[in-house]
């Protein structure tokens, strides 16, 4: 086999990897960045880094490995854009009048805002748990914390969300 054939074969295998994992990586990045453009950038950066390192051919669990890489890249991106204010706790200002109350009928959007307003140590595992097929073990590997910690944080995050959601449903935050 010539060097050219080897390179072509290698490129083909890498293209296969891109085909298999791009969307999954996009969702992982999006869970953290909440911006499609930034998430795509993170995915591209991940594959570029991987291609240059040439270590991708020896990866055992490519999904877990790639999730970890894209997560770190997304975290770096998030640090760079930290100055941009995140959507704060939406419960207080958004239900100011009947029109806004009508908007909160879209519970999905309200919950997403509540998730965004969680502290990072709770938001990150919760956001990853929403990525299709990611279990506690994979989340722990991706973030780099213990699996038990992931479960505890998920429970705490969920409890907080339920409390706030209940408050929203009862109109607790309505301005009088």
């Amino acid at each position: 086999m010539t060097a050219r054939q080897e390179t072509a074969g290698r490129d083909e295998r890498f293209a296969g990897l891109v085909e298999r994992q791009s969307r999954f990586l996009f969702r992982v990045a999006y869970a953290l960045l909440r911006n499609a453009h930034d998430a795509e950038d993170a995915v591209q950066e991940t594959f570029l880094k991987l291609y240059r390192s040439a270590s991708w051919e020896t990866i055992e669990n490519e999904r877990a490995f790639l999730a970890r890489v894209v997560w770190r890249i997304a975290l770096d991106k998030l640090r760079k854009v930290r100055d941009v204010p995140l959507a704060g706790d939406p419960a207080l200002p958004t239900i100011a009048n009947p029109e806004e109350a009508a908007v909160t009928a879209n519970w999905n959007a309200a919950v997403h805002r509540l998730v965004d307003a969680l502290p990072p140590e709770l938001r990150q595992p919760l956001a990853l748990s929403t990525v299709e097929g990611m279990n506690s073990r994979e989340i722990a590997q991706t973030i780099g914390i213990a699996e038990g910690t992931v479960r505890t944080r998920l429970m705490r995050a969920r409890r907080i969300l339920k409390q706030k959601l209940a408050g929203l449903m009862e109109g607790r935050y309505e301005k009088r």
Binding site: S22, A36, A39, L48, W107, K162, L165, A166, M169
Partner: protein
């Protein structure tokens, strides 16, 4: 209604969370990634080579500078002292002074040349060449004189006579 609330909350929460990351990327993500790989894989190599070249050139320049400094003739101690002397500004003659850099260059030029012999030194050299014994005796005599204590004869000063002077003026 209250009894249904936890279930409703869970349902709303689960549904919302399921949609939290279910965003699809723009069509053609894989192709864009591969395109960027094709475009991006060549650029870093070039950048690396360019940096390598720049680093090599810098190292070469550094080595040349060191070699030049190393081989430069070292000035003699006396010359070094002379070179350190800076011209002091003289009041009233400031316009005549040269700029500092020019003075330093002038000093360096003078330092690098051996100082010419004075007429006395030349005469001494000629004497040593012509009559070494005589020169040796002269040097010994000079050395002896320089170490001997100087003897000065007593000076006697007579007091002035004021009366005589007055009489003379009259």
């Amino acid at each position: 209604m209250r009894s249904d609330e936890p279930d409703a909350l869970d349902r709303v929460l689960d549904e919302a969370l399921a949609r939290y990351s279910s965003v699809e990327p723009l069509a053609g993500l894989e192709q864009r990634v591969l395109d960027r790989l094709r475009n991006g894989s060549a650029a870093p190599r070039f950048r690396f080579n360019r940096w390598l070249l720049a680093a090599g050139l810098a190292a070469l320049a550094g080595m040349l500078t060191l070699a030049i400094l190393w081989n430069r003739p070292k000035p003699l101690p006396r010359q070094a002292v002379f070179a350190k002397v800076r011209p002091q500004p003289v009041r009233g003659f400031e316009p005549a002074l040269r700029p500092a850099r020019q003075v330093r260059r002038y000093a360096r030029r003078r330092v690098s040349r051996p100082a010419p012999l004075s007429p006395e030194e030349r005469a001494l050299l000629a004497l040593v060449a012509r009559a070494p014994d005589q020169a040796r005796a002269a040097l010994l005599d000079l050395a002896r004189r320089s170490t001997e204590p100087i003897q000065v004869e007593r000076i006697k000063i007579e007091p002035l006579r004021i009366d005589d002077e007055k009489q003379d003026t009259k």
